[in-house]
C-alpha cells in the first residue's frame, strides 16, 4: 500500500510540470487563434491583394460587380455604407431602450421582478440569428408593408429593427453590470439628501457609470456590425448607397455569406471576399480595442 501511494506521489511530482505546461499553452491559445484567424483569412486573399486589386478603388468605389463578364469591379463603399447605416439605425433604436431597460432592471424594480426580467433577457439573447432573420422575413416584412404602405418590407428599416432587437439584450446586461458597479454608498448619500430614485439615476448614477454604459453600447455596435444571417435575410440584398430607411441595402457580412458559395475557389472574386473578411476583422478589432480602453479607464478611476 505504501509503495502504491509512493508511486503516485512520484508520478504527481513528475506530472506537475507537464500539466502546468499544458495549462500555459491553453492560456495563450486565445492569442494564437486571433493571429491564426488573421493569418489564414489574409492568406486566402493575399494573391489578389498583392496582385491586381486596386486598393483605392476597393475602398472608395460603390460599384460591386464581381461577376460581370466584361468589366469586373470590386468596390465595397456601398457595402460599408450598408453595414454602417443598418448598424446606426439599429443603435438609434436599441440604445435608448437598452439603457432604459438597464436602468429599470437595476434601479426601479423589486428583486423578484428583477430576477425574472434578467432570465427573460438572457433567453432573448439566446435566440439564434437565423431565427431572427426568419422573423424579419415573415413577421416584420408583413408589418412594414402594412404600416408604411411600401411595396417591399425587406429594407434597411427591417434590418435595423431586427438588429436592434438582437443587440438590446447585450446592452441591457452589460449596462446593468455597469450600474451595479456603482457603490451603494453613492446612492445612499444621494437619498439621504432627499433625492428621489430618478434624481439619483440622473444626477449620480449616469455620470458615474458613463464609461461602463459606453462600453455596453460599443459591444452592441460590435455585435451589430458582425451579424450575418439576420441582415442577410432582412435587408433586401441590393447593392445600393443607402439614402433612406426604405432602401434595400447590403452589408459586408451578407455579401460574404451570399457569394462565397458561388465564387470559384482561387478566383479573384473568391479572394476579394477574404479581403472583405480582413476588413471586417479590422473594424471589429478597432471597436473591441476602443471598448477595452474605455473599460480600462473605469478600472483605473475606481
Amino acid at each position: 500500500m505504501k509503495i502504491i501511494t509512493n508511486v503516485f506521489h512520484q508520478l504527481g511530482r513528475w506530472c506537475e510540470p507537464v500539466i502546468e505546461g499544458i495549462i500555459r499553452l491553453c492560456g495563450i491559445s486565445a492569442i494564437i487563434f486571433v493571429f491564426g484567424i488573421f493569418f489564414f483569412v489574409f492568406r486566402e486573399g493575399m494573391g489578389f491583394f498583392f496582385g491586381g486589386l486596386d486598393i483605392v478603388e476597393f475602398l472608395t468605389s460603390p460599384e460591386w460587380y464581381p461577376t460581370s463578364v466584361s468589366n469586373k469591379r470590386y468596390g465595397v463603399l456601398a457595402l460599408v455604407a450598408g453595414t454602417f447605416s443598418v448598424t446606426a439605425l439599429a443603435m438609434v433604436l436599441a440604445v435608448p431602450f437598452g439603457l432604459g431597460a438597464a436602468i429599470f432592471v437595476s434601479e426601479f424594480c423589486g428583486p423578484k421582478l428583477k430576477e425574472t426580467l434578467k432570465i427573460v433577457i438572457e433567453l432573448l439573447a439566446a435566440i439564434p440569428s437565423v431565427v431572427w432573420g426568419f422573423i424579419g422575413l415573415t413577421v416584420m416584412n408583413a408589418l412594414i408593408i402594412k404600416i408604411f404602405k411600401v411595396p417591399i418590407g425587406l429594407t434597411m428599416l427591417n434590418g435595423g429593427i431586427i438588429l436592434s432587437l438582437m443587440s438590446v439584450p447585450i446592452i441591457v446586461s452589460i449596462g446593468e453590470d455597469a450600474l451595479k458597479a456603482v457603490p451603494d454608498s453613492y446612492r445612499e448619500a444621494a437619498e439621504a439628501l432627499g433625492a428621489t430614485r430618478w434624481q439619483v439615476v440622473y444626477r449620480v448614477l449616469l455620470p458615474t457609470a458613463k464609461n461602463g454604459l459606453l462600453a455596453a453600447v460599443l459591444l452592441g455596435v460590435g455585435r451589430a456590425v458582425g451579424e450575418t444571417m439576420a441582415v442577410l435575410m432582412t435587408t433586401g440584398h441590393a447593392v445600393n448607397m443607402p439614402l433612406g430607411p426604405f432602401d434595400s441595402v447590403r452589408t459586408l457580412t451578407a455579401t460574404i455569406a451570399a457569394e462565397l458559395g458561388e465564387a470559384a475557389v482561387g478566383s479573384d472574386h473568391y479572394r476579394v471576399l477574404f479581403i472583405i473578411g480582413v476588413l471586417l476583422f479590422s473594424i471589429t478589432f478597432i471597436v473591441n480595442f476602443v471598448t477595452d480602453l474605455v473599460i480600462k479607464g473605469i478600472r483605473e478611476k475606481a
Partner: protein, 313 residues
C-alpha cells in the same frame, strides 16, 4: 422647533403643525417626476420584451399543423417541400458534441491559467484582450477562417470535423469568460488553506478550486451548447450542405468526414432559396430550432439557480 425638520424650502414659516408633513409644491413635483420616470422605463422594458413574446407565440401557432414526432423523425422529401427534419436535426448534435470536445478542455484550462497562474502583467493583459477580440470576431469571419485553415489548408474538406473545429474556436472565448467567473467565485481562503497543508498549485486546483467551481463551469458550457447549435454562418461553408439523405432513426448516421445538414442552415435554405415551400414547414423548422435552443438555455438557468441555492459560502 417644527420648522427645522420640515423638508420644505419655502421661506414661509409653517405655523399649523398639521401641515408639517404635507407635501410642498416642490416635493409633489419631485414625486411626479419620479413616477413619470418609473413609468417610462417600465414601458421601455415592456416594449422590448412583449413584442418578442408575441412573436414567439405567433411562430408556434403557425407551426402547429406540422409539429408531430413524425416531423422530427423523417427526412426532408420532394426537394424540401415535404417530409420532416430528421437529417438537419441530427447534424447540429454531432457538431456541438465534437466542438465541445475541443473547446471545453482548452477553454477551461485557459481560464485556469488566467485565474490561477497568470500575474497581473502586460502579457496577461494581452491575453485578455485577445479573448475579448476573439469573442468579437464576426461569425462570418470565423467561417472564412474555417474555410482557409481547416477545409483547404488542413485538407479536411467540407466535413463535420472542419465545421466543429470552426465552431470550437468561436465558442472558446465565451467558455473562457464563464469559467473564469466561476473560478473567481471560489474564495481565496480555500486556496490559502490548501497551500498551508503543503499542497502544490496544481494539487490545489484539482482538489479544491475545480470541485468547488464545477457547477459554474458546467452552466457556462451548457449555455454554449445552445449558442453553437443555432449558429449558421460558421458552418455554411465548412460542412453544412443543402441536402443529404441519411437513414432515418439511425443516430450514428454521420461520419466525422461526412458533410451534414443543420437545422439553422435548413431554415435559411427553406425560407430564402427554395420556392414553394409550405409555410407550416418553414415555421415548424424555426420553432424546433428555437425550442431546442431555449430549452437547453432554460436548463442551464434552472441548474444555476438550483446550484446557487445549495452553495455553502
Amino acid at each position: 422647533m417644527a420648522t427645522d425638520i420640515t423638508p420644505s424650502s419655502s421661506p414661509t414659516e409653517i405655523t399649523d403643525p398639521s401641515l408639517m408633513f404635507t407635501a410642498t409644491e416642490q416635493s409633489r413635483k419631485k414625486q411626479l417626476m419620479e413616477n413619470i420616470a418609473r413609468a417610462i422605463f417600465f414601458v421601455m422594458t415592456l416594449l422590448m420584451i412583449l413584442p418578442l413574446v408575441l412573436i414567439v407565440v405567433y411562430l408556434f401557432v403557425k407551426a402547429a399543423p406540422v409539429l408531430s414526432p413524425e416531423f422530427l423523425f423523417t427526412n426532408p422529401a420532394k426537394g424540401m417541400r415535404a417530409g420532416g427534419i430528421w437529417a438537419p436535426l441530427l447534424g447540429p448534435i454531432y457538431i456541438v458534441i465534437t466542438s465541445l470536445l475541443v473547446s471545453a478542455p482548452i477553454g477551461v484550462l485557459a481560464a485556469v491559467y488566467l485565474n490561477e497562474y497568470a500575474r497581473a502583467s502586460w502579457f496577461t493583459r494581452i491575453i485578455n484582450l485577445a479573448v475579448v477580440n476573439l469573442a468579437g470576431v464576426p461569425s462570418i469571419v470565423h467561417a472564412l477562417f474555417g474555410v482557409g485553415a481547416f477545409v483547404y489548408f488542413a485538407k479536411m474538406g467540407r466535413s463535420v470535423l472542419a465545421a466543429s473545429l470552426t465552431l470550437a474556436i468561436m465558442t472558446l472565448p465565451v467558455i473562457i469568460a464563464s469559467t473564469k467567473e466561476a473560478l473567481n467565485a471560489v474564495p481565496m481562503a480555500f486556496r490559502e488553506a490548501c497551500w498551508n497543508t503543503g499542497a502544490t498549485r496544481w494539487q490545489t486546483i484539482r482538489g479544491i478550486v475545480l470541485p468547488n467551481s464545477i457547477s459554474g463551469i458546467l452552466t457556462g458550457i451548457i449555455l454554449q451548447v445552445s449558442r453553437a447549435a443555432g449558429e449558421t454562418a460558421p458552418i455554411m461553408f465548412t460542412g453544412a450542405v443543402f441536402f443529404k439523405a441519411i437513414s432515418e432513426r439511425d443516430v450514428f448516421a454521420y461520419g466525422l468526414f461526412d458533410r451534414f445538414m443543420a437545422l439553422s442552415m435548413h431554415l435559411y435554405q427553406l425560407s430564402t432559396q427554395v420556392p414553394g415551400v409550405p409555410e407550416a414547414l418553414e415555421y415548424g423548422t424555426a420553432v424546433v430550432l428555437l425550442g431546442a435552443v431555449l430549452t437547453v438555455n432554460a436548463l442551464a438557468i434552472v441548474l444555476r439557480v438550483y446550484l446557487r441555492s445549495r452553495k455553502r459560502w
